[in-house]
Structure formats: C-alpha cells, structure tokens
Symmetry: D2
Subunit: 430 residues, 4 copies
C-alpha cells in the first residue's frame, strides 16, 4: 500500500462540526449522507465525517461552561478503545461500533470518516485497562505529561511497543468498521506547548504505521493548524492532509489570512499530500454551539473561498448543514469547471499578492491555463495581470470566466472590475 | 496573622530530597531530627522537611524508568487529600497522618515541614471524590489542562469556590497535624508551559488564603525556580520564600550562576520574604537516586556557597544526610558570626561582580559592616575592594575574617589572596 | 566623589521636549528658567534641561518627514564634540558652548542640564576627526555596527581607550560649561536591537567613569525605557536615574501601565538611584511637534500621576511649557506635603493592585505613614484598605487627605469614594 | 525578459571568497578564469565571481583587527556608485570599471560575476553626492537606520523613487561592464535585526526591477542565509538563488546540518529558482584569512557534499583556488553523470532521513531514476532502501554507482556498505 494512492485528488466531503459541534447523532449523519448522495456525489463529493466527541456521554449538555466536559464518562471497550455513544448512535450498540453507520454510508456510494483525538483515554490510564496485543496496560502506553490544551479526554501515547500496539489495535478496530478517513486532532500542532508544537511527531508516525498495517486505505487528516512549514516533509511522508491554519470560520479576516497561508504552502500540493484550508463555513452553521446562524460570508466571499481552495488544491469539507442548503449555496459547490482545478497534477502558483489583490494561475497537465483574480480590498476595483507575467509564450484566443460562464476576447492583459472581497477565474482558451 | 511574622529570619533546616529522593521514611526523618536537635539546633537550625512523594505507594521502586511512577496508587483520604504512605510512615496509619511525626519533631524543639505538589490528585478528579466543605466533587475543582511537566500526580486547581474549599480543607488537615512549613512545588515557575510560567498565580493566592484561614503560622515556600523577577511583588505578598533558580546541585557552574541570580534578587530580601537559593548539597548525597556520593563541592566551594547564601539572606536547607555529617562539614554549618548575616534587617548589596570576582557587603542595623570577597576564577588570585567603594565615611580599625577568625590591621583596601572558587568574609572592626 | 551624593532626592525640574520637541532656543530656555526661579524653586524644583538636537542645524525644519533630519550638518568642535547650534543659542558662539546659558540658570539658583545621544557623531567617524587626549581619530572610537534606531546622528563608542578618551573629553567640556545633569539617550534600552537591548552597557560605565574623572557632580539620567529589571544593579551602580517605560505622554493607558512598572521597580529606589517614570505631560504641550495642545489628562488623572510619581519616588520633570502654566496646574506641582514623599529614605510599597484599584503606602524614617488610594476604573467607586494590611500595630488618631487638606477621624478601614482615574492620599496622624 | 530564463540550470562557477577573502586582484581572477576555461568549462562550469570588497582601498591590510576596515576610503564614481579599487584591478582605471576584466572572462567563453552589498555607500550619504537619474542626493536615498551588522560600508536604500534611481543607475553601470551575475549580500537575511530579518525585502524588489530595466540577463544571487522559508515565494519571484544557511565551511557539522536545510527547501527548486547551499570549500582555502589550509573535508565528505548539492539542485560555486586543484579534487567536480542531476526538471525528494542516514531520489523527465544513499554516522554501516519506497511500479534491471562506475544487479533493496560521512549514488537501469 502507498498512502499517496488513498486520495488521488483532495478529499471532498461533509464534516459535522461547524453545524453540530459535539452533538451530532446517527439520524443527522444519515440525513446529510442522503443529501450528499442525491445532490453532490456526482460532482466528486464523497466523505461523510463524524467530528469530535462521538464517544462522549452527555456531549453538549453543559455547553455554557464546557465544550468538552472534563472527567465525564466515555464509551470505551475492554481494550481502552473509544466507541460511539450508543445514546446518540443506537446502531453502534452491542459492540457494532460505527460498522452499521459506515455500511449505510457506503451503500450510498460514499465514504465514511471519523474524528479522533491524539492519544489514549485518560481514564484508561488511571484504571490500568488492557491494550489488545500488548501485555502492558494503558497506564504504560500513556504519557502523563502529554495532554491536549483544549480537550480533556486523552493522554499522549509514548513511543514504545505498547504505544504502537494501542494505535494498531485502534486502527484495526476502526478499519473493521469500514472507516475510510480519520481526522486526528491535537497532533498537527500541539498548541498547549507553544515551544514544542511538534510534540506529536512520533504519534503521526505511529498512526501512519498502524494504517499501513491495517490493510485498509484510510485517509489520514491532521489537525489543528497551523501546520509547521519546517516539518512539511514529515507531514508529506506520513499523512494525506494537514491543516495550515487554526480553525477557519466565516470571517473575512480569516479568509484574507488564508491567502498568506496558501502562498506559504503552494509548493507542497502533490498526489496524496494536501495542505488543508479547513472546512467551508457555508449555509447554516453553529446549531450545536447554541448560536445557529446563516454564514456571515457574503456570496462574493463564498466564491472567493471556493476559488482559492480549488486553485490552491485544498481538500474541501463542507461545514454547513447539507439538508438546509439553498440553491445558491449548492451552486457554489457544484461548479465542475472549478472543481477540476483541485487535481494535484495541475501546476498552481501565486502570481501576485499585495494588500489589495491576489492573482493565482494554474496549468493543467495538457496545457490548459487558468487565472484567478481576487479583489482583497474593501472597495470595488479592477484587478488585472499581463499575460507576459503568466506564461510568456502563451497566446489565448479568448477567456471564459468560470462562475459567470461568460467569454471575453483576448488581450495582452487579463483583468476586470471585481466587487469587494470577490473574484473572477478565467480559463484561457487556446 | 501577618505572614511576614512567621519567619522573621530566613528558615534554616534540613530537607530529605538531596539524599533520599522520593524514598525517605519515618525512621530516617527521626534520625535526622535527632541529629539536628543535638548538633545544630543551638545555631538556629530548626526545620525538618519531608520532601516529595511521601503519599506515593512504591515510591522509588522503578527508579531506572521513573522518578515519579505514573498512575501508581497514592494514599488519599475520603476528601481527596493526600496522606502519608503508611508503609514508609507507620505512625500515620489509622488517620493520624503526619501528626505523630510532627509531634516527635516538636518535642525535640524543632519544626516540621512537608512538600506538596500544586493541585488536586488526578485520580480524585477522575473518580469524582468529594471535597470537604463543598458540594462539588474533585472533578469540578480540577483543571484538566493544568498539569505539571515532570510529576504526574496532580491537576491544577481552578480559581473557584470549590477550588478554594479544597485548598482550605488541605491546609486545615495539615495544620491539624502540626505542620509548620509547606514547600509547594510546580507553582513558582510552572515550567511545562514556558510561555506562561506564572500559570499557578491564583493557586499561590489560594494557598496563602488557606494558611491565613487555618490559624496556624505555616511558612509557605514556593518551588521550583527560577522565580519570575517581574512577579516579585506577588511572591512577597503571598509567600515566605521562592526559589530563584532551577534545582541546585553540587556543581560549580550552578554555584557561579547563583551569583548572577543573587544580584538580581538582592533588593527583595525583607522580613518574611526570602528569595531562596535552594538546598545546600553538602556531605553525603544521592542515595535515593541510586548514586550515593560525597558532595562534589570542594571545601572552598562549600565556604563560598555558605557565605553567599548567608550574606545574601537566603533560607538555608541542608541537603546532605545529617547522620553522616563529618566534623568539617558541620563546621561549615555552625559559624555563628556568619549566620548572623542572614538577618533581613541587614542591608546587603553586591558591590562588584565580573567574571573573576564578586564582592558583597552587608551592614547591620547597628552599623557593623561585613565584606565578602569571592574568587570566581579557576586560579588563585587577589581579590580586593577599596573602602571608599563601600561606605565612604567608614574607617575600621581592623578586620576579622569570619572563617579563619584571623584579624588583620586596617588599610584603605580590603583584600587578600584567595584560592580558586574560594572566599574570605571580613567583619570591619570599628 | 560618590555618585549617590549627587542627587539625594529625586531630581525635580523642567525639560524642553514635551513642548518644543527639537526646536527649543536660548530665549525659551531662559523664560522657563525665570518662571521656575520665581514660582517653583522654593518647592524643590531646580533643573532646567535642554533636550535633544540642540547641536543640530535646521532642527525641526522638515518636521513632516523627519523628527531628526538624516545627514544634516551639526555644530561640532575640532575634537568631535557637539556644540550648541549658534543660531538657536547665540550666546554659545565663539566656543562658549552652553557656558553662558548655564551661568544664567545658575544665577537664578537653579541647575542646568542637557540631553546627549549615546555615541560619537557619525560624521566625525567618516571624516576621521581627532579625539582630545587620544592619538586615534573618531573613526577608531566609533563602532560602525552600533547605531540608534530612531536618531541618525551617532555611532556607538567602542569599549577601548580611544572610546573612553572621547567620553572623558566630552564630559570634561560639558563640566567646564557648568552642566549639572546629563540625560543620555539610546542607552538605557538600545531598542533597535530587540534581542540585545543592553548593548550600551559599556557606554554607561564609560560615562560614569568620565563623570567621576571630571570632578563635577553631574547627575546621569538614562533613556529611553523600559529599563531592564535584570540589569537593575548595573544601573544603580553607574547612573542616577533610568527610565522604566518608553516615552510617557498624556494618555490614560500609559498612566495605567505605569502602575505595573512602579510595582516592578518599587524595591529599587534609594539615595542616588531613581527609577524614572518620565516627564509630566501637564499644561501646554506639543508645539514643536506641530500640534500644540493642552494636556489630554483630566485634573483627576494629573493628581493620580503626581501622587504615583511622588509616593513611588520618581524624578519629576515637568514637560509642559512653564510660562503658560495656569494656577490649577501650578497647584499640582506645589503640594509640599506630597513632594515630601519623594525622599528615598521613605519606605514605600504597593499594598494592593488589581484592575480596578491600587493602594500604596509609604513610611517616613520617623514613622509617619501615608496611604494613597487610586481608582483605576472608568467609574466612580470606593477604594479602601484595612489598617491591618498596612502596619499591623499602627493606630492613627485621624487621617488628613493631602490634596484636599481635609481630615477625617480614624477607623479600622481607610477608604473613600474616588472619581474615575482619581486618587486620594492620606497622612495618618498619630 | 523573464528572470527564470537567465539560468535554466543552477549556476556553476568559482567564487574568490573562500581562498582570497577580501584581497583578490585582477591577476588572480584571470588565473582562475584561465583554469576554468581549460579544465572545467566543458562540464558546465562558467561563472567567475569576484567577491566582497573589490571597491575597498587597503582591503585586508588590518586583517587581525577587521575583516572590513571601518570608515576606510572606497573607490566611488561621481554618482555614488562603487568602482573597483584600481590598485588591485589596474584595468579598471580611468573609468573602465570591471569592463576589461569582464571582457577577458567572456573571451574565455565564461561569464563574469561580482558581489555587492545591499545599499548605498555610507560616505555618499554623509557627503550628499548625486544619484544619476534623480534630483535628490545620496542622503535622501539612504536609510540611516538600516545597516549591515558585519560590514560597515553601506546604508540600506529607502523604498522611494530616489532609491530606485540609485539601484537602476548601479545595475545600468554594471550591465554596461558586462556583468552576468550579481551576488548581493546583507539582503537575504538582514541578521543584525534578528526580529525583522526580511527588512531588505523592498531592496530585493528594487534590484529585480533594476535588472529588468537594464536589459541584461543578470543572475541575481542573495546572501547571506538562512533564507526565510516563509518568504520563499518572494525570493522565487525576484531572485535566481538564495542562501539557505549561514556561511558554509569545511566542517562536518555544517554539512550534516545541510541535510536538514535541503529537506526544508526541496520543494522550491525550479527553473530560475535555486535554493543555494553555498560555496564548495574544496582544495586550498583561507589564504586571505591569514590561515591558508587544505580543506578539512575528507574525500568521503567531499563526495557527500557534491552528491547532496547535485541531487538537491543547488548552485555550485567552487570556493577553493582553482590553480592549485589536484587531480582527485578535479575529479569531484567533473562527474558528468552526477552533474546531470542539477537539472531542475528532475523531480527530487528526500526519501528518508534520521540521525544515521539519509536517502534521496531523483527522477529525470524521461523517467530515469537515481538514488543517493548517505551514511551520516561516524561509523561505517549499511544504508539501504526498498524499491517499494521509491517508485512502487519501478523495476530496474541493474544499478550503476556514479562515483565508482560500478554496476550491480537488481534486487528489491538498494543498499550497500558506506564509509562514515560517505555516500553512494545509483542510476537505476531500466
């Protein structure tokens, strides 16, 4: 198995976090899967990912005080492995785990993913519960000095045989359920330790080894960001995607900042290796946070986000509730011309970026050229780039804008008037 | 009660750590107390301090792997409070705690101290055990994101009523045993979080409040160092002593570095407020570490250490095993002329320091002047200071060296030949 | 000579910067001196300090672009020493320097001070001009890698004989003029080098030596701040005052921040050693900056500033134009009861500080106790402190507020209602 | 003009610094050029680069004190532009500059390069000399707060029209001489300002614009390193090569560290964009430093260096004196199979790196695969890699080692015994 074959293009899917926070249940997951199968699958969308706390009893019940209730009980098997909370995921009862739900998703022609926290449950360490495949208990695999700063559930795992046995057993279980995608949190940047944010390095390697041993092609996604650019090779060696910023939400400053981060990581997109711009906070968000709202992004900002994520080559994970998607939002997610740009075989690069504008180009393996113009300013304005700055010898006959589908005739300059925070993205016709 | 009345001069005593590590037992504590009462008490030595892990079962039994065995059981009462391990402290059985041992020490005319870790036992949080005086369990007082980087026993305590109730109940229990001195660890500099080393600030305040409420004059000592100079006022407001370096051992580089730290803290010595140079690693050390050894310090270095600690005004805690003290070591600890300098009413200051030498002076409330000359270099050499640099109008008739008891006649320069790493300390006779 | 005898209490005076920026001239200096002699001298005010750029031709003529015109010519003698610009200081012509102006100030019973930049003029280094008392030219004393980040005039001076000769010759000249006070800039914190802010350490020592050699009691004041608390001993050894913040202006946030800085430095006030809170931006300010204005401080804030500076023991340098002082402003500067608190023999300390309030106490050598209460919040509110938190055994019969001169009868609590950003300061009557 | 066309493969040449320091003269440059033309040109070596201080009078004459004599005179034209010192470069007299020397080099079929310091001569700013093409003098283009920490000659240039005019005029002059390569120093990492190491950003842009305007294809090389990985896009946009470490010398620790740096920059090699591993300290070195010596690198270390530089795709600049090259050294520089790997069209990547070993692979555009095995340890040992870790589907028939020219038959593992610090590099035969 070669992990770079697991996801030949950036994974596209839906993730439960932005809408449900810690509270998502089986019925809700199925409803979103149904919607995806019906409306999005044919455009390449395929992952359904259950995010954080699916193992936690009473998740979300003390939301005003705690996002993650400290020391609350969790669903765990006899080998220190977390299982779905059967209250929220009834089909998991009796040891079935996420198997039935994964089957459901698979039957829709989709793939099934879950979130995990780096480490082994703290309670397992304190209770000295066994590890499958090891004579040593959880207390010997757990590192009591390695915690997550924002979630109280786990201890980091030591770089030992017992530790590897734990991760092996965990991935073996999850593979047996049919999991296709694992988003591991508190590992890409262990931010409770600001001076050693890569303290989870060995755990990334251990997870990679466990996946290879499992025999199942499980995409490995690392959170949270910002990933460390000086560890890029290590991420590329062991994982499929890694977050390049801290949590992304529907806020222009965060979107503006993403241009800087995409500049930084643009040379690091290749088959099986995807710097990750995080979920797309589109449509209805925030219900589980106690503040359900429609995305604060304007339509122009949404198009800018989609265009940047695609031309950069980021994974695409929808954050909003699918069953509440309106037609305009759906149209943002179903532009086939734009989604083609995700292909890592395209050569993409930032051509220009200053405070007011950014320009990106992308060139397909067969020589098709695309140019995206972004207005980063707060006022309408013309953004343009000379052809000579793109590909000196290239002479297009016309340009087609991918959002409007309008075609304009060629000139030596590609440019147009763009709304504040908006964009235009052109295919150059030969 | 005014905490600055609890220790009118820097505490002097013995601490079990340097010799016993985590393993000291009742018999050993008593033997050291007996020795102190017989040989040291009349010079001002009075504290007998039981250092770290007295509550831990099997402490020291896996020393090659762990100084502090993670997730090992601990002796704890029904209110989440740690008790002495009855295997090592038989008199504590049946709920007596350190009461009988404290009584023993008191009967010798000495005072009794213990070490605690900041926080509440992790196991108490995970088992939701009660807190005396609060309706909330340990899980509500514990902060799951606040740990110690080097000891796995505790969670930090939240700044809440439940948290204060826990500390109140803890100090109440220890006061009831007759504890006179508490060395709280992982609190002066919470070094697992290098960017927020004062994260235990509120716990220092909570401990201070708990001591005030207890009605017992318990000296509060904070570890580990280095204390933060920009928090000096806070330490002075809430504690009696605080470590100004990381752990000090019998190593010249550490002793040399202490001169720098004493320069930094010299203006912060006052009644009840003592920057702490840490234990004196004299005589036999290291047994509990599995490497029993005689102190690596030369006799000259020992005198330099004692002289600096005294003229600076540091607490004095003997680290070596008392029952194995030789006559020469004992003489280092029993120089009454030198020990007088500890008095915070003396005005001390560093007069000079460079790579080769340091000079300190001290002036008693009634105008007696002392000058210490230190040779910081690796070769013998003359160290001297002009009288005019000390106290312009001062004209001594003679000088008495406090270690040799020799007297020399006056001149305009105080100076002498000093061995490498050695010192001379003079009283200026009027 | 002992530098701690040069200023037995914190220097009090006027400085040209806050009103004139770089443009002050002889007539203006004299006018301010006249005013001080007539209205302020009897309260202890005595220094008249000419601040930055008195040597610079065309100073202030390109103010929109440059505060300090780069590469503009300067007035310099044949030994690389800067002289007053004769256009602005006509009496300095013909080699007289500031002698005549200093004489004028002295005749008024006042003292005369000047500002200098650390270093030797850049142009002197580039032209290889001589140094008095050295065979080597300025180019050998200048360190081409040591500059000021915000003023283009000087190179730092090397720690060599030629370098010391330059500083000796400089101070010798300024002493010959009758200078009583030198404010040396770019030396306390060499902030262009954020990772080595004490790069001027040797130049502080060289200036101190030069002053000692000069035979004249010249107060040495170091700027800009923030001074480095871990270098406190070095400042105390070589200088008389040092700035504890960056430039202070009439802005509440800066005043609020000064409470934090005073906490930090409170143990470092002693005779001849004064942590410096910077000029008092009172009355009319900013003319030379092209934005003449009345101080933005409210009357309450002014009293808070004066009270803090006094009870802390800071030097007091008036920043506003004296000739335009109104009666209310004058009254802030002429409260003899308050000014008494400056005496370094008083034992001052911060008793309490949180976001809403601060309390300081001070105790005179003969046992008089003062308490200042500050309302740091944006709303009126009661600030109080229990007597037991001050001096346990102290029992005053009454309290006199020093601004209002009102007396209240005693109680176990000292407190009153205070306006936002305001204060009350009480003398406790025995 | 497209700067990525100026150097389609990493520049290969000789640089005067490692042997001559600041002292190289015309005769010596010619001798090295002659040697290159005769012995190296046919392998692709073509640049002859005159390094630092060619404009400085008396360069090297006070070497014990100063590498760069502060405030010494320099050769400068009437427009503030530095010219070669005619004492060392006689053909430059009479305004010819480096024209005659460039002609000489060109006639040998080689290219000519020079070193410059970022900025405008300090003396020009202090003397207000003119700038060609601007009404403003040097003093208006110079930024008095922007200096180099280790060389005293220049001030940084402001981002203004006058500043651009200066750089334009400079490059225009150097282009008129026939300069093909400019190594600009103190610009890639302005290390005197550790907290703003990219303070020369605008000057990189100004130099790039000046080169574009000059109409001459001048390769732009930026020093010193370490370049900032988060500014990679900016370097790639404006320059041809940039140093990825501080100065590299013949020291194993530095060579070992280069593996880490090559890992970091491996995704940033493309046509016209070359992360630069610095000069090759081979053969005779150090004469100008007063310590002529044969390179400290063993023959194994030399091969490791050459192999890493080539497979990574670094520019190659010989540091040793060419006229003293021995046959074995020459053979290191003339391995055509190895030099082919420099081509940026090859896809290179680090396959493995730990403390003991590193493995790199490279794949040519037509599918030839190369594998380099490095023994990073201090003892001989086997280094190996499974074919499956390289290119899963690739099945070579045999392997040829490029240094020994030996061929071995295929297996599923590529590996061999390698001397300490040594390497082997294989071409996989289809």
């Amino acid at each position: 198995m070669d992990k770079n074959q697991f996801a030949k293009t950036p994974p596209m899917g839906w993730n439960s976090y932005d809408y449900y926070d810690t509270t998502v249940n089986e019925e809700q997951v199925k409803a979103n899967a149904d919607y995806m199968a019906k409306n999005l699958r044919r455009y390449g969308w395929e992952y359904i990912v259950v995010d954080i706390q699916w193992y936690a009893h009473k998740a979300g019940s003390r939301r005003a005080e705690h996002q993650y209730i400290p020391f609350e009980t969790v669903e765990m098997d006899e080998y220190s492995r977390l299982l779905p909370d059967p209250e929220r995921f009834p089909s998991s009862a009796g040891g079935a785990g996420f198997g039935p739900l994964a089957d459901y998703v698979h039957r829709l022609g989709l793939k099934f993913g879950i979130h995990i926290m780096r480490g082994i449950p703290r309670i397992a360490a304190h209770l000295h519960t066994p590890i499958l495949g090891s004579d040593l208990p959880a207390s010997e695999a757990a590192d009591p000095s390695s915690i997550c700063g924002w979630n109280p559930d786990m201890y980091g795992v030591r770089n030992t045989e017992a530790g590897q046995a734990y991760y092996d057993s965990l991935i073996q279980l999850y593979a047996s359920w049919g999991v296709d995608f694992i988003k591991c949190d508190d590992i890409c940047n262990t931010n409770v330790y600001p001076t050693r944010p890569f303290s989870g390095k060995h755990e990334i390697e251990m997870l990679h080894r466990a996946i290879m041993k499992s025999g199942r092609e499980i995409v490995l996604s690392l959170s949270p960001g910002p990933a460390l650019i000086d560890k890029a090779w290590h991420y590329e060696k062991n994982a499929n995607m890694w977050r390049i910023t801290d949590d992304f939400w529907d806020n222009w400053d965060l979107l503006l900042n993403m241009f800087e981060r995409c500049e930084l990581w643009q040379n690091h997109v290749s088959q099986g290796c995807y710097p990750d711009c995080d979920m797309l906070p589109l449509g209805w968000l925030g219900k589980g946070f106690g503040q359900e709202r429609y995305s604060n992004f304007t339509y122009e900002e949404c198009r800018t986000m989609m265009t940047l994520w695609c031309i950069f080559g980021s994974p695409l994970m929808i954050g909003g509730e699918l069953t509440k998607m309106s037609e305009p939002v759906l149209s943002l997610l179903t532009n086939p011309e734009l989604l083609k740009l995700l292909d890592p075989a395209y050569r993409r690069r930032q051509v220009l970026r200053d405070r007011k504008q950014a320009v990106w180009s992308s060139c397909s393996p067969d020589g098709e050229v695309y140019v995206a113009l972004f207005n980063l300013g707060d006022e309408s304005g013309r953004v343009e780039i000379r052809l000579s700055e793109l590909e000196p010898a290239y002479q297009p006959t016309a340009l087609t804008e991918l959002w409007s589908r309008e075609t304009v005739t060629k000139s030596s300059v590609i440019g147009c008037e763009i709304a504040p925070h908006g964009c235009a993205v052109f295919r150059l016709e030969k």
